[in-house]
Symmetry: D2
Subunit: 314 residues, 4 copies
């Protein structure tokens, strides 16, 4: 059912890129995510040029050519990825630091940063005016997924561009969703993460309620997972310690998806909601509570630490 309606780019058998002998891929932004993503490209045999404001960081991608500026990355590249902290930095990099001007005509910009959809749309339009192609391709899966090469890409842009770049995306990830036109990748990611941020807090509240009232955490966990409260946050990422192995809650809420990143995504979702006069009451409440946790010393933890806060366990 899924494949028929979602425009998954399944049949890229006769793909342009697959036929290339010597394309060049640029990668700007070698942080926790970028280092693994660019690393996968190198391992898959691609010719990769990288840049980061930290030369140290840039050098972590073994086998890639380290450039001294974003502009240098852009020159003669067929595809340039950006993986940057926010929309202002993406705009500055593409527009002020010379990437867009230096890119060959018809080349493809792939922004995998999570930014406001309206900025993605703006960058799509400016790119088009410069005869450069642009897609937004934010990812889900976090650092773990980046390292394992199992990211999911949510992509907005023209169908032919998505098909063109899909084999490259699959070097770094396991799934590619074409969500619609420019900005749609961002919108899909933010919509999903809004639901995630709310459900995680809902699971934390429900589990805390039951456990405080005397239920065995394991019993409640299992009941929820086969009942109407079933959700990803409970089944695979339970915020209650020691119900699941290898989740942040079982490791003092280390690793995983930082509460600051969840707050960032919720802030972006709310800005998008403001633009369309859309009301998101639970997301907004959840956002502010996550933010209050940051003010109270939980800023370095996985977002499931909301359970610890609610339960008051020290």
């Amino acid at each position: 059912m899924f494949k028929s309606t979602l425009r998954l780019v399944q049949c890229s058998f006769k793909n342009e890129l697959a036929a290339r002998n010597s394309s060049t891929i640029g990668f700007i932004g070698i942080g926790n995510m970028g280092t693994h993503m660019a690393g996968h490209l190198v391992k898959k045999g691609e010719k990769v040029k990288v840049f980061d404001i930290s030369q140290e960081a840039a050098k972590t991608v073994k086998g890639a050519q380290v450039c001294s500026s974003p502009e240098e990355v852009a020159q003669n590249s067929d595809i340039v990825f950006t993986m940057l902290p926010n929309g202002d930095i993406v705009k500055k990099t593409l527009l002020e630091d010379g990437v867009l001007k230096s890119l060959p005509k018809k080349s493809l910009l792939v922004d995998s940063s999570t930014i406001e959809p309206s900025v993605s749309q703006e960058l799509f339009n400016i790119s088009q005016e410069n005869d450069v192609r642009f897609i937004d391709a934010p990812v889900s899966g976090g650092v773990t997924g980046a390292e394992a090469g199992t990211l999911a890409f949510m992509v907005g842009g023209n169908q032919e561009d998505v098909e063109y770049v899909k084999p490259i995306l699959l070097h770094m990830g396991a799934r590619v969703f074409h969500c619609g036109k420019a900005g749609a990748g961002q919108i899909a990611k933010l919509s999903n993460n809004l639901i995630l941020g709310v459900c995680m807090m809902g699971v934390s509240e429900g589990m805390n309620l039951g456990i405080k009232a005397g239920l065995d955490p394991k019993v409640l966990h299992e009941i929820v997972n086969v009942s109407t409260g079933r959700c990803w946050s409970s089944e695979t990422y339970s915020p209650v310690p020691n119900l699941l192995p290898n989740v942040p809650s079982s490791n003092d809420y280390k690793g995983g998806f930082n509460i600051r990143l969840m707050s960032k995504d919720l802030a972006l979702a709310e800005r998008t909601a403001v633009n369309s006069e859309t009301s998101v009451p639970l997301a907004a409440t959840a956002h502010q509570i996550y933010r209050a946790l940051i003010s109270n010393g939980y800023g370095d933890k996985d977002f499931s630490v909301i359970y610890k806060f609610l339960s008051g366990k020290k």
Copy 2:
């Protein structure tokens, strides 16, 4: 995995009840749920006595003996079910209307109403003092599940009592969870429904956000269902019309789980939270918004109507 840790009552092979030739089962409260539940008991060959304050309602259970008082139901019954609107009515029925006094010693009271866990615990204690057994056994699955005989029972009480009654519960439902001691069935149900009430609103907000921002509802639905936003409310009960057949949202939010019942469960969850000084911020916000919908004309709708309210579609 599930079976090993959850005390599912699997092995009732040598069950007392199975051995009985002529036990009698009482059923008090023949509403939308009770009529189907008692009906299943009759169909499975049990001897059933029923009572409801509406004689009309009581008569809907074909093949059952209609009694003129709760007391009459209790006399000579081995098991008496109650399926009533709230804790005050359950208490009045059992304590003031003579059920507890009229029940044979060692007989079993099964309260399938959804009420405050502390009231279930109180009734368990009073029953014990009267040499009557008591379990709380609220259900999930709604009217549809009651009619189809696929309810899930969440049970609190003594292990031997749960084993004893399990074959009877399975006449009316598909699953029996023994959640812990007295009140634990209520706590488990409320904890789960709290998560449900929050997740449904989260899904409604996220879907509305994406759709208002231009995404195809089908595409977003499918992405969420394979991503971290995945949950029962999205996969099997989507609040967005016409994504799934046979769900209330595709039928003008008719049927399903009434928004008043969700509000009732959230109110009970919050009372339970107050007793243990537990904070449930999203549940409380969700509760009040569901309640605002009731004030604004949505009181007869399924609780997924929150999507319609948020999207402002008339």
Copy 3:
């Protein structure tokens, strides 16, 4: 303007009680509030009998007769006050501990506890059936007001009963509001305290926002106090330390109105809201956040400590 529309009991010139020579007043519940309230009655020359489950506490009211049971307090008293933690205890004291049965006919019960309005109404009705008069008369002003004798009484019940007891109330307080019939005193108190609980959090959020963004706390405080954000919580009880002398925030949030009491009042307000299907979204959110603070170590502080929590100052 105020006096004309609010049924303040102004003209009690020909007051029965004033004419009495030797009435007796009982006081049950000698806690932080009760000790001061009963003390004022003694100081004003009333003959006072007291009871508390702690004999130690009861003895703190110098000049009062300490009784060994609530029943003993009731015998031969003209008026009996109750000042108890919650509705269940009030009910038990009046109905099970023999107060109602032992009171002389036509005597007056004054419940100054803060409890659910529906319980006040129930007690009014039961009292009437027993030929005893009943009013609910919860107070505002806290321990400070109790000690200073400046409490405000919000009273529900019959007009003649309010007029009868008003001189006695004014021994302990500065104002008496007759809010309506039985329960109306509780409703008025809860409605007001709901607004208070919300405004205090609103002021804390707004002040924290401005101060974090660089404003001088004094300047912002003064602007708010002459602008549309003006409110009691800002003008006379600012949650920001060192803007006002003699408020809890300037004394490490000690004293004042404990966050547990605010949480209790918000819980009662929400129960009252449930009964009338009324939505109180901000109150509910505020309630849960106050409650989360209790779980995180702020349980002994004044409710204005929400500012400290939001600002993250340690």
Copy 4:
């Protein structure tokens, strides 16, 4: 007390502007507010040049010179006011439409729009680089205050600039608060309006709770106004119809402060909060509920219409 700590610009007796014979004042943005504000300047004898994208609108200021572009307004003006819908439009007007380039050196830009504080700070810096002075001076008082000339100006910028322009501001308003350096006017306004938006909803919830539970609206109104729930929203702008004359609630919620404007201010407050990692939970919840009202047909009403929504009165 107030005057001593708040840097109100009291003693501008020897003011430069007062000494001028023939300064020129520009005014860009002749909407509901601007038409009255510019009109007051004309009435006070100032030489005024105006521009609006609607020539119709610009012509409503009798006695002012209508310009054909923002640039024309700027040329030879000593002071230029902007009163525009949002930060993007202010930036475009000043930076792209030539205002900053055309202004005489040392002249003063006064932005009375309500925009993000960070944008005000950016514009202050750019102006300084161009040897033009800049202050942010958002107003409170609404259209009524603009018409009556009783606005309050909350000003951020250099002390000497505030003193310089104060006599001009007092042509249009009754009070001038110097809140701090660049952006401080915006921060003060947003902080205050956050409190306002929360308190109004709190008052609406509390009044609705009491009235639904049976209290006389007048009695409750008067009790709140002399109790701890006292606030501007209750005392002078009650959301409950027919308690006060001449407020929007008594006129079907027409006029006043539109719910979209309140939503805009809360959105700006939240963005400012995000920048400083500050949590504003009640403001965020209130914001989303106001926004839900817009989606449900209340978009043209005063923000106190929240009472009508909560009470469910049609």
